[in-house]
């Protein structure tokens, strides 16, 4: 059946849908503020008239392109186009500052394509067992997953871990503003009705990442790209980028597995996967101290992991009907519209359609290579040749539009400006924006898990013990302890090595 399905996908209209979908997704993803969910929601009406397979293929391609497109803005202007590319900026932008922007774009393209193909293969081969695993995640496990994510703060804090923790706590508090997810009452509105809706994560993300960069450009009177000569010998060709990506198989495999594990947990998508994969790549690296200066390993880890989540998050969607990430909810809507019900029937009665959709996502990942390499060069040239005095207001306009479009809210744009200005001031005293955003993303997941667990434990004398009941929770707690202790363990190891080296030298003398 797979071969038949594959041949069916070679229809020129489907191939065209894939290329058009990837290009549209790439454009939307490259615009800060416009997310993959928004791209899918906007392009949804265009698929109503198409047959089910064509519609699903086009939407899958848009999703894939949007997640990848986020890396463009992250690499070229230090602004994650989507929350899935936060960590891409950590290494991609320093590479751009060194005149290696094209190389970074090529590496991101190849890594994204590999991640996209790996995600489709995971989905094709591992759907049933992975779906069973995702069912074992209850509120307590969600809470521990969020805490595990928060241990990344140490590596994202650019210097002092304590300042990073302050940023993380601040992000969590900002995330609690507005209506409580459980309980329904409002918190921290300061008497302002406009704050009842809370601070949308994407609004904070744009403000905290984009505005400090714009202020920096305005202060310096130049962009990071205009400050350097393009390295003509930079390894920017497709083949060289492919060589670089495949020269680190361990990193690639680890990041793809992380992406898949995060993807099957409903509620956590590329926004969490890219940060976890980056952190693990840094931890496994022989030179973790070089991270943040333009290390290819970090870029490969983030871009491969976030694109794995595109197909990966379809596992709970196709098998259980649970959207793994917000864009999946749109795809679920399209499936329902065409009378397709998630579950085993999808793989039997509508097998050809389902497998066609899965394989098409792999094809979309391949289509990203030509589209991305051409698009990336084009965007790079535009940014490189635009004078800073045009670039600053243009990016500002795009971010204002992106922020406004999240909820059609003028207040959100004001909140974005306030957070961005505060973010610039915080950055001066050593509180980086990444931990604040991480706190904001994971705070919500942690709160839901924590309060739901406490509620379910109300019958017992000590409700908090519910957090420690399941074996999966124990595994997660062990991982948290290991993750939190790792910086100290590696420092201890380094010190021990140094001491034994000195002792050896003394003996030789």
């Amino acid at each position: 059946m797979l071969l038949e399905t594959f041949l069916m996908l070679l229809d020129p209209v489907i191939i065209l849908s894939i290329f058009a979908g990837v290009s549209a997704g790439l454009f939307v993803g490259a615009m800060p503020g416009l997310t993959a969910t928004m791209a899918l929601a906007v392009l949804l009406p265009f698929t109503f008239t198409l047959p089910p397979l064509h519609g699903l293929v086009a939407l899958g391609a848009v999703y894939m392109g949007a997640i990848y497109g986020g890396s463009f803005a992250a690499i070229l202007v230090n602004t994650p186009g989507t929350p899935s590319s936060i960590a891409t900026a950590f290494e991609g932008y320093p590479m751009s500052k060194k005149g290696r922007a094209l190389e970074a774009l090529s590496i991101a393209t190849v890594a994204s394509a590999v991640g996209g193909i790996a995600g489709s293969l995971f989905l094709l081969l591992l759907s049933p067992p992975l779906a069973k695993l995702s069912l074992r995640f209850g509120p307590a496990e969600y809470f521990w997953v969020a805490v595990l994510g928060l241990t990344l703060i140490a590596s994202l804090s650019e210097g002092s871990a304590m300042k990073g923790m302050l940023g993380g706590a601040l992000g969590m508090v900002i995330g609690t503003m507005g209506v409580a997810p459980i309980g329904g009452e409002t918190r921290f509105t300061f008497g302002l009705p406009v704050l009842q809706g809370g601070v949308a994560m994407i609004v904070a993300l744009i403000g905290l990442f984009v505005l400090p960069e714009l202020f920096n450009m305005a202060a310096k009177g130049r962009t990071a790209l205009s400050a350097v000569e393009v390295n003509s010998r930079a390894k920017s060709s497709f083949w060289q980028a492919t060589k670089t990506v495949f020269s680190m198989p361990g990193n690639l495999i680890r990041s793809c597995i992380i992406g898949e594990i995060v993807a099957i947990i409903p509620g956590a998508g590329g926004n969490v996967a890219n940060l976890v994969a980056y952190n693990e790549a840094k931890r496994a690296s022989k030179h973790p101290e070089k991270y943040g200066t333009g290390v290819e390993e970090g870029l490969v880890a983030t871009e491969s992991s976030n694109n794995v989540t595109v197909a990966g998050s379809m596992v709970p969607l196709l098998t259980l009907g649970i959207p793994g990430a917000p864009p999946d909810a749109v795809i679920l809507g399209v499936m329902m519209l065409h009378g397709l019900r998630p579950g085993i029937e999808l793989f039997t009665t509508s097998g050809q359609l389902t497998y066609g959709f899965i394989i098409s996502m792999g094809l979309a990942a391949i289509a990203m290579v030509p589209v991305g390499l051409l698009g990336g060069r084009l965007i790079y040239k535009v940014i490189f040749r635009t004078p800073v005095y045009f670039l600053v207001p243009t990016i500002a306009m795009a971010t204002m539009l992106g922020t406004y479009a999240v909820r059609n809210s003028h207040t959100d744009v004001i909140i974005m400006l306030i957070l961005g200005t505060a973010g610039y001031l915080f950055k001066q005293i050593g509180i980086a924006p990444a931990p604040i955003v991480l706190g904001l993303i994971l705070g919500n997941i942690a709160e839901m898990g924590f309060v739901q667990t406490m509620l379910s434990g109300q019958a017992s004398q000590y409700p908090f013990l519910k957090l420690f009941e399941n074996s999966l929770s124990h595994i997660l707690i062990a991982m948290i302890l290991f993750s939190a202790a790792w910086p100290y363990l590696s420092a201890l190891k380094r010190r021990f090595k140094q001491r034994s080296k000195t002792a050896m030298e003394d003996t030789h003398e």
Partner: protein, 151 residues
């Protein structure tokens, strides 16, 4: 000018101020809604105090606002705020054309000599750019952008 400060004390102080702001905003509502925010506010307070103590015991001095012209980023920031505040009054299109042109002229002064002739070249570029985004958002993406006294 030397702009070196003890960032440990600075971040601890700002952290404590923010803790106070959120602590006094904690309301008497059901435990389900307040338990988590309350816990995080307390944690933020503890971290801030730790930062302050570390700032005194192990001072870390860093340069702040040392990159480029501070006046320029502050003026640009102020123009961003004015731009957004005038958006509901003038409408997205008009306010964006006006403020983008002002920012372009202001920032260009640092790189080149601004003449009327140059402004006359930049203005149509700004209008074309804003028109493109305006049309994409209103006609393709169906985002209702703020309308002011004009459109």
């Amino acid at each position: 000018m030397n702009r070196e400060i003890n960032t440990g004390i600075a971040s601890g102080t700002i952290g404590l101020l923010l803790t106070a702001v959120f602590f006094f905003a904690l309301e008497d509502i059901s435990w389900m809604s307040i338990l988590f925010p309350k816990t995080v506010v307390y944690i933020m307070g503890i971290i801030s105090i730790t930062l302050l103590v570390l700032g005194f015991v192990k001072p870390s001095r860093d340069q702040i606002f040392s990159a480029g012209s501070n006046i320029r980023w502050m003026v640009t920031g102020a123009l961003f705020f004015l731009w957004v505040l005038f958006m509901p009054v003038l409408g997205f299109f008009v306010s964006t054309v006006v403020f983008m042109t002002v920012i372009v002229v202001y920032l260009a002064r640092a790189r080149t000599q601004v003449t009327i002739k140059k402004v006359m070249v930049w203005l149509p570029i700004v209008i074309a750019e804003v028109s493109f985004f305006y049309l994409v958002f209103t006609k393709v993406l169906y985002v209702p952008l703020p309308k002011g006294m004009f459109f």
